[in-house]
Amino acid sequence: MFDFFIHVASIACLYGVLALSLNLQAGFTGLVNFGLIALFGCGTYGAALASGMGWHPLLGLPAGIAMAALLGLFYARLGRKLSSDYWGIATLSIAEIIRISITNEQALTGGAQGISGLPLLFAGLKPYDGMARLALYVVVLALVWLFCQRLVKSAFGLSMKLMREEPQLARSLGYDLDRIRRVVMLVSSAIAAFAGFLYAHYLTFVGPDQLVSPETFLIWSMVIIGGVANNRGVIAGAFLMQFAMAYVPFIKDALELPTDFVAAARLIIVGGGLLAFLLWRPKGLFPEKVGGSNGR
């Protein structure tokens, strides 16, 4: 039971990092990205690449971040021409194209089977390895949170929010929206890839099934439930969602419900939770603190 708790908390930390990444894009800048999971995938496949090529495992991190940066810049580039809703659909399609390509490609990515046998982080510390990993993830989450806080409170952070609120007006005040979009996508893509890299070395397995679009929507639900444009909130959202989903099987056992219940209940938690919050608490558990920028 304790190990299970450590496991869920570990996953929640990594999803917290992903939620922070999405929050920079969608929460603060208004970049409605439905293809976030592909950026995460750059990180997982960066780790897989290093393993497949026989590199030092740590080299998978720069490889993943480089791929994510390219993909993020490509997303940003599309945003120059497309309006927000079409951009969302375009990012979703690209993420799906990438996932399907990986599934049908054998030589590099191992296709649908994926790549297994990645080194587990801190494997040598048994039986305390789980706790050591969790400690690392907590530190990473805290550092990413700190970075995001500083970013959104900076002058650049103000420009992100202005772009979200009144993009055309922001332009008339000298803000270059293409540049803002580029920088936000670059930074947040690197963060998502970082989460992917850690995730790959946690599960020790990388596969295309980890990149299905419901994963993106799960992260969206964390952001919306936790509080759009509130960094603390989206971390809370990530933990809430992960724990709610992880403990569904226990509820099933306690109530002696059929096994089908688990998958269905998880869907209900994501979909129903989203709906409930959108209806009754649209700003999430922790609403955004607005203003207070002294006009920088």
Partner: protein
């Protein structure tokens, strides 16, 4: 100061909205653009501002070619201020924060000096400095967006219907303020307007647009006198004032 020649422009891959417009405006001059709804007034202003890139023709500011320069660069490097027709404030920021956004390029002392001067000039804003802009009335928002454009000290001011939605009293206040800017700062002001009589009252010259072209251009005073023009473009025989 502003020289636009044979401008053709439109949105996306749609048809041309502007089908060959030439226009000029000088320092210390208010030029107003009139015409019926949908004739392309805002599009013309957006093209000159740099939101819409012209498909043909050229635009120069003070002799410098700026045809393809986007809005954010015009604001930063060519001393242009633009006040949009709608969505002209950041609602979540305070009045003061909104205004200071226009002064990002200025040094701190200069910024504070100009801010104080604007507050003296527009007491309606001074009293609400710390209020959120979303709590302002439509007229107050117009004044706020004007002040925000002015704080940077532009040489060219592009205004899209500054009097839209204002009460007659407020309208006069805004027009008086615009006239005062021309006289004190020697600014070149290009102003789209629906309230033709009022606009012609402070403008030096006017262009009347129709279907994406200049149907007529004249001195503002002449246009006010011309009965045919009144009938055609200014709405019947109604007298000004």
């Amino acid at each position: 100061m502003i020289e636009a020649k044979d401008i053709r422009a439109g949105y996306g891959d749609g048809a041309d909205i502007l089908t060959g417009i030439s226009l000029s405006a000088d320092r210390r001059e208010i030029v107003t653009i009139l015409g019926p709804n949908g004739c392309g007034k805002s599009t013309l202003l957006k093209t000159i501002a740099g939101y819409v890139r012209p498909r043909a023709g050229s635009i120069t500011f003070g002799g410098t070619d700026v045809t393809a320069v986007p809005i954010h660069e015009k604001v930063r490097h060519h001393k242009v201020g633009y006040v949009p027709q709608t969505d002209n404030v950041f609602g979540t920021l305070t009045v003061a924060e909104n205004i200071l956004l226009g002064a990002r390029q200025l040094a701190k002392t200069e910024k504070e000096k100009r801010f104080a001067a604007l507050m003296d000039q527009y007491p309606a804003l001074a009293g609400k400095k710390t209020r959120k802009a979303s709590a302002l009335s439509g007229g107050e928002r117009q004044i706020l967006s004007l002040a925000r454009a002015l704080i940077a000290g532009p040489e060219i001011l592009l205004l899209d219907e500054p009097s839209a939605g204002l009460s007659p009293l407020m309208m006069h206040e805004v027009f008086d303020a615009i006239g005062a800017i021309r006289d004190s700062e020697g600014m070149c002001i290009l102003m789209v307007e629906q309230n033709a009589f009022e606009a012609l009252g402070i403008a030096d010259r006017a262009y009347v647009l129709s279907l994406g072209q200049v149907a007529m251009t004249a001195k503002a005073s002449d246009l006010l006198e011309d009965p045919a023009m009144r009938k055609l473009y200014l709405g019947g025989e109604v007298h000004a004032e």
